[in-house]
Symmetry: C2
Subunit: 138 residues, 2 copies
DNA sequence: TTACATATGTAATATTATAACATTTAATTA
DNA sequence: TAATTAAATGTTATAATATTACATATGTAA
């Protein structure tokens, strides 16, 4: 019972959560909160809080990540991302393109090792790789 | 000649840079920009810009790191940190303690591998490990 | 000295995010 | 079903973080 409710909580999105997520999913770049706000003003999203509340929830359930160094948000591309999940991104310093790294088992192993070495427990991580991307290297 | 100047630029700090760095060095936790501002008001630092400009420069030369997820700043503990250097931290989710990871050759190797795999070049990285620390685990 | 780059000071303002509280909607259960 | 509670929403105001723009000063090189 408790479990069922929890599952629902994760899967059933409210109206605001739904439209914020849809917008992020169709965007090909990270969006800032106020840019989301302006984009969605015609759909009834009128105040920052509506956006921030939706984002908080979406991040909590693992559907969205925040790119901390940019104060911007992206939809998670990893369908099996778990709640409060780990996030790893590359960010091109030239063209600003951001992509999520999905094959990060090796990273996780290393980071767990680092945490364990200090006798602490790794809960989650945020990794931002500033790169020059393939296209910009040419 | 060019080199010498560059070296000087890295080593000779201006008054504001100096006092901001001193403050960060004696703090045992990351400080926020406005907290630095209030702390230094008696030393003639009166406007946010003075703090932000000093921080920018200190970050540029590798003396300070920004904890992106906290909008807070710490002095680099790694004496041989190079300009625009890589940063890796653990952040305890219970007690907020932050420490810099310094032995991160292994991480760097992995991250370089990830970047190279996409045919892109790694310039720097920001890694924030959210942990429960040794003390808080008890 | 003149010219130039770098650093500073200051005021104003832009951007990002949250607090507080009233209202509505949804879920639970008596 | 109606009553009760929890969760989500709407709205206003404001806090916290960061930058623009411009005037002035200081240091460095020609």
């Amino acid at each position: 019972m408790k479990n069922k409710q929890l599952t629902n909580k994760k899967e059933i999105l409210t109206k605001n959560q739904e439209i914020v997520l849809k917008l992020l999913e169709k965007s090909n770049e990270p969006l800032k909160a106020y840019s989301i706000l302006f984009n969605l003003s015609e759909q009834g999203v009128k105040a920052p809080l509506q956006v921030y509340r939706a984002l908080d929830r979406l991040i909590e359930i693992g559907k969205v990540h925040k790119i901390e160094s940019k104060n911007a948000f992206v939809a998670c591309i990893n369908s099996n991302c778990t709640a409060n999940s780990n996030a790893a991104f590359t960010i091109c310093e030239d063209c600003d393109a951001v992509s999520e790294i999905h094959d990060n088992k090796e990273i996780l192993k290393n980071l767990n090792y680092l945490a364990n070495r200090e006798k602490s427990k790794l809960n989650k991580y945020n990794l931002e790789l500033y790169i020059t991307c393939k296209n910009c290297l040419k």
